[in-house]
């Protein structure tokens, strides 16, 4: 019973992390049809930059901010420098993101080496808390879960209650019409890309603190983002939350009860969803 509850808790916190990474991915895809396969690289780069900042300043929170801001700027530069020049060429955009991810992975290896880095979160986030039934559980992971829920709600409010959010949603439905109604779509695209990339960098620091940062994590979180949005439905933030929950829980339950075939469970979920609803749980037919 305790193992089961602990596994569920771990699954929830992993889902929280997956949601943070995948929400940015799905946001960018939903609006721009840009499958950003460099999303995992942004996650890892944000984590490294956040680590260096936290290391230099001694403040973990500055590290988190650095992770978010640096990747927002990177996302902005990518959108303005490259992707806006190839609007509508989906395959070419995707190929470019692959090129960027190859390049970034190698450059990160050159700068930060093959070492594994571990963050030092503030003391009050460190240690364990006593909970009924599960006994001790790391405070940090609960904080991660809370952060993710807050960000999820904030993202929902941003998309549903603000003017820019309205433009983004309109752009997801019909880009040409949004442009025709006098909205500067390039600015909306740039904001969305900056936000999505920033979320990846933010998740890098927050997730890197919960686990660790090392080469190869970029691929892991790219795969997680891919599966989460395929399951949840592309372009839907709520779908990303549902997908993250399913995948996070499946991965941890698989790890606890059938370690060898953990990957297979997530994969089976993906296949099952594709068989029944090819567009994903909350996705709309293309």
């Amino acid at each position: 019973m305790r193992l089961f509850l602990l596994t569920i808790m771990n699954g929830l916190t992993l889902a929280a992390l997956y949601f943070l990474v995948a929400s940015g991915f799905t946001l960018v895809f939903g609006l721009m049809r840009n499958v950003n396969l460099a999303h995992g690289s942004l996650y890892l780069l944000g984590a490294y930059i956040g680590y260096d900042t936290a290391d230099a300043t001694g403040s973990w929170f500055l590290g988190v901010a650095a992770g978010f801001l640096s990747m927002s700027v990177a996302g902005l530069l990518l959108q303005i420098g490259i992707f806006r020049h190839m609007v509508g060429q989906e395959l070419r955009q995707t190929l470019v993101t692959i090129g960027i991810s190859i390049l970034l992975a190698d450059l990160m290896l050159a700068v930060w080496g093959g070492k594994t880095y571990q963050f030092d979160p503030p003391d009050w986030l460190y240690g364990a808390i006593r909970l009924p039934l599960v006994r001790a559980y790391p405070i940090y992971r609960l904080a991660l879960l809370g952060t993710s829920i807050v960000i999820g709600i904030a993202l929902w409010l941003f998309l549903n209650r603000t003017r820019i959010g309205m433009m983004i949603r309109a752009g997801v439905d019909d880009r040409a019409m949004l442009s025709a109604s006098g909205v500067n779509t390039q600015r909306v695209f740039a904001i969305t890309f900056a936000l999505g990339a920033g979320l990846a960098g933010f998740a890098g620091v927050v997730g890197g603190t919960a686990l660790s940062i090392a080469p190869g994590e970029d691929v892991r979180y790219l795969l997680a983002s891919l599966v989460v949005v395929i399951v949840g439905g592309m372009g839907s933030v709520t779908g990303a939350a549902i997908g993250a929950l399913l995948i996070g829980l499946a991965e941890q339950l698989g790890l606890a009860y059938s370690p060898t075939y953990g990957v297979v469970f997530t994969f089976l979920i993906m296949v099952a969803v594709l068989a029944i609803r090819p567009q994903g749980i909350l996705g709309r037919p293309a």
């Binding site: 395959l91 470019v96 960027i100 190698d106 060898t260 990957v263 297979v264 994969f267 090819p278």
Partner: protein
């Protein structure tokens, strides 16, 4: 009857679009190892040929079917794994079947795997195919790394080699080169032939307008799954040569790096024509072997990543596209319009 047979034979050459320069290239490829050292024959020559075959399977799917599948190296690796699992390997973990059963079985299983990937991925189309096939490829990589019952986990298998047949050790430089050349030539011919068959024409029509083909009564998904199957045969052939040359197969063979490399090779060369993947493979293998002279060997991925980015940014159709544009430019007497003409 003789008249019929006589008319059929010469019609094959124009049907495949053969021109004198093709025979020149073929002759050069055949006499190439006589002039080259074993390193150039195998590590460069044969490597280009079988990487080209694996990339050719991607070119077939992407160029004629409009499906950019990132799982072609995964299919190749699956067939390579089967050579070890069904045949013999140095850990004595294989089933020990003879070569004449192992090779067809490995190709068959690789092809079935490709068909299954096809069935899953054709549920959605376009840009989604990339995501799903990448997810399948990475999931298979993690699976082989953790599965010890079949795939022997992290260490994989070693001691794989082609059979000794007709008194020839096929792993020796010359025989291995000619084996690779034969497989590459057959695959190239097969892709050209299929692309001009009824099936190939329908597949290209589906690529251009799936809804219209559906309305005309064509089974769109079946065509796409069959295309995945055909590409699976090519990828399996390339994968078997791959593990024979390396002598081993492990999760590293189908890691994200090699999976992406196949895409890099196909895109570098160009996805419009089956010769593209071989041109891309040549550039890739030459860069990998001689980049040491240019940069730190550790930074090969930076070089290949940059090369890939530049090619994708300036020429969506790869080196072939650049070549065609240069030809258009030369014909128009060097005007900028001629350069742009082929850009499409």
């Amino acid at each position: 009857m003789t008249a019929l047979a006589g008319s059929a034979a010469p019609s094959l050459a124009p049907r495949l679009g053969l021109k004198p320069r093709h025979f020149v290239v073929a002759a050069l490829l055949v006499i190439y190892p006589l002039a080259a050292s074993p390193f150039w024959t195998v590590q460069i020559g044969a490597q280009i040929l079988f990487l080209g075959v694996i990339a050719l399977s991607l070119m077939f799917l992407a160029g004629y079917g409009g499906m950019v599948s990132l799982s072609q190296m995964t299919v190749a690796g699956c067939a390579g794994y089967m050579i070890a699992v069904i045949g013999t390997n140095s850990y004595n973990l294989g089933l020990g079947w003879p070569w004449w059963a192992t090779i067809p079985a490995a190709i068959a299983i690789g092809t079935i795997f490709a068909v299954l990937i096809g069935i899953i991925s054709v549920r959605t189309g376009g840009i989604y195919t990339i995501m799903i096939t990448l997810a399948i490829g990475v999931a298979f990589f993690y699976f082989t790394r953790q599965n010890y019952a079949i795939f022997n986990g992290h260490s994989g298998f070693a001691g794989l080699q082609p059979p000794v047949l007709f008194g020839v050790s096929w792993r020796d430089p010359l025989p291995f080169y000619y084996l690779s050349l034969a497989v590459a030539a057959l695959s190239y011919g097969a892709v050209l032939y299929v692309s001009r068959s009824t099936f190939g024409i329908s597949l290209q029509a589906i690529r251009d307008n799936a809804r219209r083909m559906n309305a005309l009564g064509f089974n769109v998904n079946l065509h796409r799954v069959v295309a995945h199957g055909f590409a699976g045969i090519l990828a399996s052939l390339g994968g078997i040569l791959y593990v024979w040359l390396n002598g081993r197969v492990s999760p590293g063979t189908i890691d994200i790096g090699p999976v992406i490399n196949i895409l890099v090779i196909a895109v570098l060369g160009g996805l419009r024509h089956p010769i593209g993947p071989f041109i891309g493979a040549a550039l890739f293998v030459l860069l990998r072997n001689f980049a040491i002279d240019l940069i730190d060997p550790e930074r090969f991925n930076t070089l290949i990543g940059l090369t890939f980015l530049i090619i994708v940014l300036i020429s969506p159709d790869g080196l072939l596209g650049l070549w065609e544009r240069a030809r258009g430019w030369a014909r128009s007497g060097g005007s900028a319009a001629g350069w742009r003409q082929k850009q499409g």
